[in-house]
Amino acid sequence: MIKKIFYPILFLLLFGALLSFLGRNSDYAAERKLVSANKLFLKSARTPETIPPRLYEKIKKSYEKIIARYDGTKSEKEARLLLSRLYMFMKDYAAARAELNKIIEKYPDNESYCAEAVFTSGNSYEAENKWDKALAEYERIMRDYTPVARALDMPIYIAGHYAKNNDKKSADAYLWKALGYYKKIYENNPNSQAAYVAMGLEVTVFELLGEWQNTLTSIQQIINAYPYAPTLINSLRAIEMIAVSRLKDPEAAIKIFTDFIEKYPEHKIKPIILKEIENIKTKSQNNDADKPKS
């Protein structure tokens, strides 16, 4: 009886060992090691002042092993980024930037990673209070790596830096500059994901600048260009909110909704829009009735 149990267990163990051995160089194995190294990093990151040198070396070696063993995998690229962040964490900014430059040299065609590497390099200059050099890095992303996601975020990130430092003038100036940047993207890349994101960010910029009429126009541009986007309902709600609360002009919302229905008469959202138009008209009439007659 014991033999009958022993052999199946032995088979399972050997089979598992075989599969483990065969998959030892796979992306999955690399991911596992990366998650393990990250957990250690995150745990020690709670108290940066008290990381013992041995632990720091252990985390560093974990990333270096992944970089050495799993060359060319997604985990190797992430390990390089995380290693640079580890250096930044220990305030070794030069080492961080050296590591980041290796990513750019090794993977010049991988725009997402290169953009991320340059962004992290910018962060390292920010941590050293060298804003000019950080800005140069961020503008490099916008220049060289458009239209990846990181590049599209940069104008708002930069404006956010100025706003945090109470420099509203520079923040607004950058936001106006961003509008040209986004317009160029969606005009040069029509019907693409980047164009959709750029249009959405244009709306955000107009909101930050308090340019409500332009915000409305931008949202209208999005819903006309992307009538079946999953964000359509949210866009319509935003149109109503801005027209009614910000511009005090409910007719503007009604006009946009009516134009949309005329352009897309078969759209399944048409009954909802018609209902919303009625709601706006009713609210508007009630507001007029409540106003004191002069």
Partner: protein, 289 residues
Amino acid sequence: MSKKQHTALSILSTSFITMINHPVIIFPFVLIAFFELFSLEIIYFIPRWPLSIIFAPVIRAIWSEQALHYPFNFPVIYNIFYAAQIIIYVFLGGYLTAVSSATIYHINENKPTGLRIMLKKAGRQYINIFCVALLLIVIYFLIREGYGLFIKKFALGKIGSSIRIIRGIKKVLVLTNQYAVFLFTVIAETMLAYCIPILIVENKKLFAAIKENFIFLKKTFFATFIFVLAPSLLLLPLIYANGKALILMDKVFPEVIIMLIAGGIIFSLFINAFIITVLTSFYLLKRKT
């Protein structure tokens, strides 16, 4: 202690001793556990080469690309293993349970208990056993989905939410969801408890066996319910742990899900072996009297 309780306890203890003295009863469940552990092993290694060549497109199509990456594959492992477990149970589990039941019957009758003889004996009733196993799975699905729908509509819905007592009841129902499903499953297993022993011992056809099962249950429902419930209660800590698996995954390490599933397989091996021993022994005892 009443006479009934005394008899129920003595059946349980006698069956336990029988199982210990004749480990050949457990062996079919060892085989079930082997197939389940083997399927778990394959499922665990799906994201890696070489199994990824075959299985990755399927996982991508049904779930997403993320389900092939560490540690996001672990919640998916649960779902895939659950499906595998059902297939194993329907095609093999019921049959091997019948092999165990046949072994107990032969021990009782002082007949030979060689594995080949038992496999052959149970094999004659394979189609009927398959149907019983399938029926049990269908009933289990109906319980799970039916109760799930009830929880969704009532406990998570707006009905009666303004009344404090009903809000409290809803909260309890949501918190005890998995235990309620456990209880209903035990009741369902009780309802079909003697189908396999009857198929093996009396060598009847499917519908005749089901009919006799209900006739037998009419007189012995409470005792049968205890025979199924008592050992199954040992699974409650595992049910609780499985409910917290995603939290444990984050707090400890993701592989804890594999440990919980494997632990459940091994635990169930002994519990199921014990349950079939009790039920078959009880049926044989009552059949004589």
